[in-house]
Subunit: 505 residues, 2 copies
Amino acid sequence: MLKSLNKESDEPLYLQIRNQIRDLILSGDLPLGARLPPERKLAASLGVNRTTVSNAYHELTAEGLVESQVGRGTFVCALPGTTRDQEDFPPRPLPWNEHFVALSEQVRDPLIRELVALCSQEDMISLAAGVPAPELYPIERFAQSTDRVLRQHGHALLQHCPTEGHPAFRETLTELAAGRGITTSPDNILVLAGSQQGLDLIARSLIEPGDPVVVEVPSYLGALSAFRAAGARLLGVPMDEEGLRTDVLERMMARYRPQLIYTLPTFQNPSGGVMSRERRQALLYLAQRYQVPILEDDPYGELYYGAPPPPPLKSLDRQGYVLYLSTFSKILFPGIRLGWLVAPRPVVDRLASVKQYADLHSNTLAQWALTDFIQQGWLGEHIAVLRQEYPRRRQAMLDALHCHIPQGLRWNEPTGGFYLWCHLKNGLQSKDLLAEAALQRVAFVVGEAFHADGGGQNALRLNFTYQNEQGIKEGIRRLGEALTALLKRRRERRAPRREAARPIV
Amino acid sequence: MLKSLNKESDEPLYLQIRNQIRDLILSGDLPLGARLPPERKLAASLGVNRTTVSNAYHELTAEGLVESQVGRGTFVCALPGTTRDQEDFPPRPLPWNEHFVALSEQVRDPLIRELVALCSQEDMISLAAGVPAPELYPIERFAQSTDRVLRQHGHALLQHCPTEGHPAFRETLTELAAGRGITTSPDNILVLAGSQQGLDLIARSLIEPGDPVVVEVPSYLGALSAFRAAGARLLGVPMDEEGLRTDVLERMMARYRPQLIYTLPTFQNPSGGVMSRERRQALLYLAQRYQVPILEDDPYGELYYGAPPPPPLKSLDRQGYVLYLSTFSKILFPGIRLGWLVAPRPVVDRLASVKQYADLHSNTLAQWALTDFIQQGWLGEHIAVLRQEYPRRRQAMLDALHCHIPQGLRWNEPTGGFYLWCHLKNGLQSKDLLAEAALQRVAFVVGEAFHADGGGQNALRLNFTYQNEQGIKEGIRRLGEALTALLKRRRERRAPRREAARPIV
């Protein structure tokens, strides 16, 4: 049936066999349904190993040209792949789930997306999402800035801009950093599509699968996702009233040589904690001693409701160990998707290389409009408004908790930021409370989401900035009802209804 | 010096030794400058292998507690890591370049970023960047849309939106797709921060290191970067006047089982080519037969200057093999950073999972404003303007080429899109021409950038949409001067001045 093979050729023998048989099928000499010779027989007649013929048949099978039927042999099963013959080829849908790369289950957890979707539910009081008060958004002023830059600079600003960011915006961010005690230059600033992109770019640039990364316990769930997606092995370090326990960290660093330390030192998410000045210095010292970079995430530092917090780690960093990440999502509005990083030049350059193929650069209109908005002095005025309003809401939440939740829950009293961090007593679990809360139309985030180590089952995070005082009071009243119902259920030894919980977190 | 070791302990012997010595250093019993016992001697006294002691000393060295001096021994070199002792620890800058993960040299090539930076040079005529005509930007109308949505929906639109995109925008994109012959639903659409983000999310979701990915030769350089960054092995398939050579592709698919086929079937970047309807059907047939997904990138399909091109591959796809990617960067303006993908639900879900930790969601103001702009009918009107103006510019470039470049270069005459694809004759190299062109203050993109296989040294891409007719004429005149100078240089056997080339691409 086949011509003799060329054993001198660069083309492997099995491919020569495959090609000859394919040609016979394509030419019609081997018609649909024809049986190929048994492998052993063909191998003998060609003077090759049976494996060689077997490989050729496998190739043909993979191409869909032949199929083997157990106990019967191998048969021509499809006509040639030219457009004329499409009718004969039965089309099959692509099984997409077999084509995706592996992704850790923890990363696939749609928690954040579901939290975001939650915001659109009208009848639910959300104490879950970490977003600012929408009714305080300085929309009129932002619209003025947007309109002004569009009409004055439209042709330039709707163009591409450098991957690192619009130059005037980087200048303005330098001044913003100076106001937080950080002396830097525009060349050390990278503009980001929200600080979440900073977490992702840093993870992609510093972390390889298996690399240990230190995180606080608890910590921001979006950061945990970004690190897990890069394959990080998360090492949780506990916190006390002064912040991250540097004594525990030191033992961990000596043993595990982490690739990165991630910390939210100021009004930590979710705990609300503030790292003391001494602890900041100790952390920086350890980083230098073990040559480990620190990623300082600071979304909330400007939102203090009493004495200002200690200066950022970055302001203490003389040797380029600290990457300082911040955002406008908490002090302005989240939809604008603008964050920024202060970092040594090699880091800015490297992250820009990755950002180049990730999204080329961030939205230019938002960068120009925000530059104008900040230069008008309106950001500073807006933050002053927030510093007046948010402590009232915090107090409203504390008062409501005292009033409606007489037992079963303890909470902290944070001096800034967005969150109360609460713990259920007596072995109650926050996911069970959430199931009851969903029935009462109030939502929060369960503590597990913030725990790299799988703890936090009795914890929950309550946001006090998104709802106004009335919404907070009603939300906590409903939470009290939910807790009462949970306690009643427990006394009755009935399992809570859990099926309602999924959609709301 | 040391206590005897516990050989029953779970703690390895070398760590027991390290810990004991560390305690002695930390307590001050081993002062700064003290010499540790020679490894062999300590091993003998403890009854362990010398390697065990050596490992312990290495740990202490890595911690910065001791250092070994060749021929002298190992000495205590730093005091304990408490804040009290910071003065004694000499701070060192972090060597960042040792901390980054590996990144292919090809990906680090800052070509696109430098192209973008080029746009800001005033005295350079850029025929390089692939951007639309800025003076045609519908700024007044876009400003109206932006202002309207901000004032009408500010509180809602500056919030977070779902990762998949603003619902009304996804609805509108469904209609846009229908206008291109693609029947789909909002659930099958993913909003992106530019189509570059689509390339990155798809690469991260479908490609593992070493996976073969088919690309056209030449192809879009931003896609090559995204695939290379994911570790893809790029397989280049040549094109002819009907587009991608499906006969070559078939052999390649049988042999390499690619993970993905990437194609720009309509007004291809950079070649300007259009895949014939028959070739589109053959490609889709091969994808189904070998069960390989196709990524169809279609930034230019609406920009035809004669008869409309064949329908998108996606419009022929009944089995969910095609991911259809498009953008507003070419038909509106690039600074808005909005692209979109039409894909089967499992792909939208999976990519949204990745986008969630990449940037959470895309800029909401841009999504709302563009929804309004499209619903007003202004996008359609703008595209009609572009279809009138761009063929004039294309003709101006063709005329100028005929006039100013009598020899040494051949070019195509594309029927749509943004680019002329040119080839130097007689062994001339486009990077040498670029060096001369930089001196004449005109820029283009060298062909190598678009070649997955390292070819294209004699090719160059000229954009005819960014400059007006006058700019095009002057730019081509300068290019003619550059080519004349290059030919003269070659006759004189002098190397061209190359140092000027770097900044302009």
